[in-house]
Symmetry: C2
Subunit: 183 residues, 2 copies
Amino acid sequence: MPRRSDDTRAAILAAARSRFAADGFERATIRAIAADARIDPSMVMRYYGNKEGLFAAAAEFDLRLPDLREVPASSLGERLVGHFLVRWEEDGTLVALLRAAVSQDAAVSRITAIFAEQVGPVVARHAPDPAEVPTRAGLVATQILGFALCRYVLRLPPVVALDREAAVGWLAPTIQRYLTGAV
Amino acid sequence: MPRRSDDTRAAILAAARSRFAADGFERATIRAIAADARIDPSMVMRYYGNKEGLFAAAAEFDLRLPDLREVPASSLGERLVGHFLVRWEEDGTLVALLRAAVSQDAAVSRITAIFAEQVGPVVARHAPDPAEVPTRAGLVATQILGFALCRYVLRLPPVVALDREAAVGWLAPTIQRYLTGAV
DNA sequence: CTCGTTTGCCAACAATTGTTGACTTGATCT
DNA sequence: AGATCAAGTCAACAATTGTTGGCAAACGAG
């Protein structure tokens, strides 16, 4: 059932995502988030319990990986990298997670879970050997998260300068090999 | 000339590196660092000015990349990845830099500088086209930093589980292609 | 309308933080 | 020995933080 405070809750969540993404967990203060949402800081506590609860709510995230069963195995890397790039840019949540992860165990668990539960199955469907699935998913994480780190958090100039096409061109073969390449 | 306080200064720096690496910039408090070094917090201020000054001193870092001019171009990736892994594990400074980078502009500049000044020349010596050097160095950064992030900061289980040999086996071809591969 | 519940704001608390200044100890040099 | 200066200790400040409880207004059910 819809509550009268749903707008406020949503405003808090949106402000929290943006602040967490921009400043990380500790530097994003509840007072700043509340100011962005134009409400009193105490409302945040009422609706989300405490700062960690707010983060947990703001860090809810679905990669929305498409169904790749009909995609030829050889263009898997390309499709995956393309999807990641789009998803990363349209939703700041992943950046918030990444920024918070360095000091927030909850964020680490969330990232771990995302790669295990959402990327894992895709890998499982195409990896040569089931025993290698976690390793391959982990390797995919190293390249995808590393690219996101350099592009959206560190903002290394040459990595920021890459357009989407070039980024896919460089990263896709890497992901492809981590998914299906020989050990 | 050696000062009588050199031992104290070194103890502060060591404690700072370890705390920054373990907790990140904001959660590593001066009080905790001083306690580790068994001195008064005010000594930190006296010798390093403020917290940022302490971090700047603690984040001094040299990759110590070996001279790779005589290495055959084809085993460049392998040598580089191996060196990175060793360096990363013997010195916590890089992890401290990585952890601090999400909220500390100084750390970002330092990482940017390290890759531009220390990795850049290696790339320059082997890249087909000089114009591509920054891009290629940036790509190397995405994979190397991504691996370090997943292994030492996030501690993703499958990435932690890789032994050095396996890690080199997986990453070396990626780095090799970013260094010398076709665009 | 009336009552209870929800929503919101205000002020304040306790803890922690980086940082500062005054004071004491100890070594070094004349 | 006495003077000088670095090295170290102690206590406190000012600001910021997450968090709490009380109170006023708005709403919805009866």
